[in-house]
Symmetry: C2
Subunit: 199 residues, 2 copies
Amino acid sequence: MSKYVAGPEIERLIQLLARVPGLGPRSARRAALQLIKKKETLLQPLSQAMQVAIDAVQICSICSNIDTVNPCLICKDERRDSSILIVVEDVSDLWALERARVMRTYYHVLGGRFSPLDGVGPNNLNIKKLLDRLTDSSVKELILAINATVEGQTIAHYITNLLVNFDVKVSRLARGIPIGGELDYFDDGTLAAALLART
Amino acid sequence: MSKYVAGPEIERLIQLLARVPGLGPRSARRAALQLIKKKETLLQPLSQAMQVAIDAVQICSICSNIDTVNPCLICKDERRDSSILIVVEDVSDLWALERARVMRTYYHVLGGRFSPLDGVGPNNLNIKKLLDRLTDSSVKELILAINATVEGQTIAHYITNLLVNFDVKVSRLARGIPIGGELDYFDDGTLAAALLART
């Protein structure tokens, strides 16, 4: 029996869709079929939006955020509080914090997870750019909004050490139980941190 | 605070990705970011594959399958058994049966779920085309591989009634417990059907 259900053009679409985060081989097949059925209303607009994004996307030369303008919309926004700078590992973290809509400040994207085993050391991250940015700036507080992983904490420690000569207060995100979290789902480390930092 | 995290071109990409089956608003955002990061290796090829698919996709004039050739690869395959025709509601059902690789026969896609409340009655489905196809054909058995839902069974009954004057045996998929299924996950109807059809 033939290996393919449909023609090579459709199989290639399925294969590429399967590489989109959130879709697997099975859901890619379902997605491809639905996209083809909605050719005019979804597939065509999506293909065009992708092409537009490809042409428009830029990396912000100040904070390394991904946007379609450079500097990015956030760095361009003059109404933000320039006394606080939030350091994140990845653009996805920046987007998550922006969606939380708590603080209206500026960001600095390190541009990757610190991961010595994968060859991503401090020199591969935008740390020098961060130090340059802090020199002669109005930043009074640096919030290290870095993942609560071993790697994240290592890079947070590394940055904290580099900043001893800067007149900048360094803070980190609070550790604890997420809102709505049930105690028995969390590991001992999280529970211990939440207990010690009780309010 | 601004409604958008990134520029309008990226937001539009996220909005369209969120309409892809299998992705939601949150996973669409993550997918968009990963696609943008893999601009050369994934986003560009995917956008192109979509455009190619848009131009190439056709509906088979014989069985209503979706393919890039007409007649489709399956209808074109002369090595299949032309004495059996499998009727399915949707192209996704055809693809699922082809992946199962059990029978090497031909198909007929009704092109929609029978759903009177949504205005999809027997006349909206490819039933007349099915009858035309059975006239003066070599088909000896028609397998109704139709969903085990009320609507599916209604349309199966309707087709069976239409075929009384045709010299064609009509069969349906066996009802029972899926392979690997645990008894307490299934409803009473499935268990009753599996008991009555015990082998």
